[in-house]
């Protein structure tokens, strides 16, 4: 190997190791959310499925007119998911149950360690100190990796747009309300006080207090307190969570912890491979001299 090649290899190796380091940096440690993080507590036992939160969201975020009006109850026939045209939807579950149907509002849960944020290769997402997960659609390339990564199937993509399709999702009314300390539009309008806005830490206390004082009404679990590292939206329920559209199999570790095994391997490959393979190259060159014991058996693995 020429000295120049060697130096070149060192340089390439060095830069790539540096890149590998940055890769790892974000993935380490456990982050439990900003101390001042706000959140919303959803009491599904109070929700009556009036869909006024959907209407408020539509107006606040200046979303396109829906196909049918927000009074239309026929949308409950099929479970829906948030899309680029509706950042929040209310679904109906347990229709046949004697206690009447159970309603649940779906929107971005604003994770403490968002999977969308960690999967985005242009770093479009930001977790603000107020707890909102917002995004910069000016850099969105449209790879839709965040939609793959989101454990709650939240981000929607406006496939309809030809020239400027981007990811769209609930931003906790960050630009218009949260930034100035106001609750999101959906919370403001809720007639049943099913949604409670406040500091996430306080909401967790309120939730457990409600469970303690009404053990018959609630299951002893606050969904979102620990799931995927904790979310800003928290849920109370009287019905098993898996029956009202929650995924009970989600781990308490943030999604990024699944990726760490790979990210940890990256700097090793970057630093070891060049030396290893250049070394093998030098060794195998000498082999062809034909003076060794094994000149005949050159059956290496290609």
């Amino acid at each position: 190997m020429k000295r120049r090649n060697f130096l070149k290899a060192c340089l390439i190796g060095g830069t790539t190791i540096a890149m590998g380091k940055t890769n790892k940096g974000w993935a380490s440690g456990s982050f439990e959310g900003y101390p001042e993080s706000m959140g919303v507590l959803v009491d599904t036992t109070r929700c009556i499925g009036c869909r006024s939160c959907e209407a408020a969201c539509n107006k606040e975020q200046k979303l396109p007119e829906p196909d049918t009006s927000f009074d239309d109850k026929s949308v409950f026939e099929e479970p829906r998911r948030p899309t680029a045209k509706a950042y929040t939807v209310v679904n109906q579950y347990e229709k046949e149950k004697p206690g009447g149907p159970v309603y649940r509002k779906v929107q971005c849960n604003h994770c403490n360690e968002p999977a969308c944020l960690t999967s985005c290769f242009v770093n479009a997402y930001t977790k603000t100190k107020e707890g909102a997960v917002i995004y910069n659609s000016k850099v969105c390339v449209g790879c839709r990796n965040c939609m793959i990564a989101c454990p709650f199937n939240v981000p929607g993509y406006d496939y309809e747009s030809v020239t400027n399709p981007v990811i769209k999702k609930c931003i906790l009314c960050y630009d218009t309300r949260l930034k100035v300390g106001k609750p999101p539009a959906c919370v403001d309008i809720c007639p049943q006080e099913a949604l409670t806005f406040g500091h996430r830490a306080d909401l967790i206390k309120i939730a457990h207090e409600r469970i303690r004082s009404n053990p018959d009404r609630y299951l002893d679990h606050v969904y979102g307190e620990k799931e995927v590292g904790g979310t800003s939206w928290l849920y109370l329920s009287g019905t098993e969570f898996d029956k009202i559209g929650f995924d009970p199999s989600l781990s308490n570790d943030p999604i990024i912890s699944n990726v760490k095994d790979f990210l940890g391997m990256v700097p090793m490959v970057l630093s070891i491979w060049p030396a290893l393979f250049s070394g093998i190259h030098l060794l195998s060159k000498h082999d062809s001299g034909g003076e060794g014991h094994d000149t005949e058996s050159k059956e290496e693995e290609p």
Binding site: W26, N145, V259, W273, F277, S288, P302
Partner: protein
């Protein structure tokens, strides 16, 4: 072409024609035919008619995707954000293109010069596979003109996809450089070729690094979706290994497949050296592929045992999984091992086809078929998405054939032969030897003779 050669046409394999005149680029492009002869042979080829039919339907739809948007062309599903373009185009094309770095490593790093007749085909296979994976990506991205953003505008270095983007971009340029030697020979620019030969070792080593990482990274992309990929196709600890290791036999078997097709339908373009070496090289590639498959099956089983997922095998998904493993990996392993031992080339090639099928099925399974296994509905790609995928694949075949017809991939460029050997003999050993011990100097003369 065959008939024309029978009637005395000389194939272009050197810068000079029979009368000793230098060939122009146009002559080389037309394969030494007159324009009318060229058109005649093109029209006579029935395969061209099939391609023409695909393009007649597919090209307008492909263009339509950019005019009417993704919602018009694809399922536009929020639950299945990655459809055929990525599930097949990107995730399946990339592992089948791992051949470039493997043969590069074998020839340039391990000194397996006996594989050189097929090295260029493997490099080209790698380059085109990656290039068209990117073409599929461009068709799929919402805003393809923003593809350079992760490079220049906004960095998300914590994301696996960031690593994939950088590595695929870098590796693509590495492969262009590796294949450019053939182009420089053909165009008649020996200085360029010498320049590239000099940095071959560096290129090859960076090829190994980049390939290890991004082949694995494509798998690691799915570790972001632990609940969505079916547990049998998912493993937090081993996902990147599964993708990386299965890409090894995938790439080797793709070379066997392509070389089989080329020697069958492009026999006129291969030279004696290639024909004689083909069976021997195929056996070696098959041996390598067998090792890869055996390793893959082992770690796949370890992955299942590690998370104790055996119970999933006893379900519809489990049967589908076993079909993939048995038809796509175990069967080819048996076929190729048998073929290698008995030197039955047909059996080896059949095994290689099955492996290619297995790797593609595995990627499509992970990305589309078993993705969102908990959701009640499966996504069936709409016809426009299928047509566009098919069209891009047809363009891939056309470009592949165009290059194989012309560049010295399957044959050796004559006249420069001597010059080539001299360059290689001087640069390669000298590069390896200069800083080495006196032993190396002693073998220098021997090496030059051997080369």
């Amino acid at each position: 072409m065959k008939n024309m050669i029978k009637h005395g046409l000389a194939v272009v394999d050197s810068p000079y024609d029979e009368s000793g005149k230098k060939r122009t680029v146009v002559q080389k492009l037309l394969l030494g035919l007159t324009p009318s002869q060229y058109l005649l042979q093109a029209f006579r080829n029935p395969f061209n008619w099939i391609l023409a039919a695909i393009f007649a339907v597919g090209i307008p739809i492909l263009l339509g995707r950019f005019v009417f948007g993704l919602a018009w062309a694809t399922s536009g599903s929020n639950d299945y954000p990655w459809g055929l373009f990525l599930g097949f185009g990107l995730f399946a094309m990339v592992p089948l293109s791992s051949s470039g770095f493997q043969l590069g490593t074998a020839c340039e790093i391990f000194g397996r010069h006996d594989l050189e007749p097929i090295e260029r085909l493997a490099l080209l296979n790698g380059l085109l596979g990656y290039f068209f994976a990117v073409v599929y990506l461009l068709a799929d991205l919402g805003q393809p003109w923003r593809l350079p953003y992760p490079m220049v505008v906004s960095f998300g270095p914590a994301a696996v996809l960031f690593l994939v983007a950088w590595h695929v971009a870098t590796y693509l340029s590495v492969q262009v450089a590796e294949v450019s030697t053939a182009f420089f020979e053909w165009i008649g620019f020996p200085a360029g070729k010498r320049g590239v030969r000099r940095i071959t070792l560096g290129l090859t080593v960076s090829g190994i690094i980049l390939s290890t990482l991004h082949q694995g990274a494509l798998g690691a992309l799915f570790t972001y979706a632990p609940g969505k990929v079916h547990p049998l196709w998912y493993s937090s600890s081993f996902q990147w290994l599964h993708f990386f290791v299965s890409s090894l036999p995938g790439g080797l078997c793709m070379v066997i497949t392509v070389s089989t097709i080329a020697s069958k339908f492009m026999g006129w373009r291969t030279d004696r050296r290639f024909k004689e070496a083909l069976d021997r090289c195929t056996v070696t590639l098959a041996k390598g592929a067998c090792m890869g498959i055996a390793t893959y099956i082992t770690i796949k089983l370890i992955g299942i045992a590690h998370d104790n997922k055996w119970s999933y095998l006893d379900s519809g998904w489990g049967q589908w999984f076993m079909l993939e493993i048995i038809v796509g990996f175990m069967l080819p392993l048996v076929l190729m091992t048998y073929g290698v031992h008995t030197r039955k080339m047909g059996v080896i090639r059949l095994g290689a086809f099955a492996t290619v099928f297995g790797v593609v099925l595995n990627r499509v399974n992970t990305a589309i078929i078993t993705f969102n296994w908990k959701l009640p509905e499966r996504e069936i790609p709409p016809w426009r998405e299928v047509v566009i995928s098919l069209t891009i694949f047809a363009i891939y075949i056309v470009v592949y054939r165009f290059i194989l017809y012309r560049l010295p991939i399957l044959y050796k460029w004559r006249q420069q032969e001597e010059e080539v050997t001299v360059t290689e003999a001087v640069t390669a050993p000298a590069a390896g030897r200069r800083e080495a011990s006196p032993v190396a100097v002693a073998s220098y003369s021997k090496m030059t003779k051997l080369d």
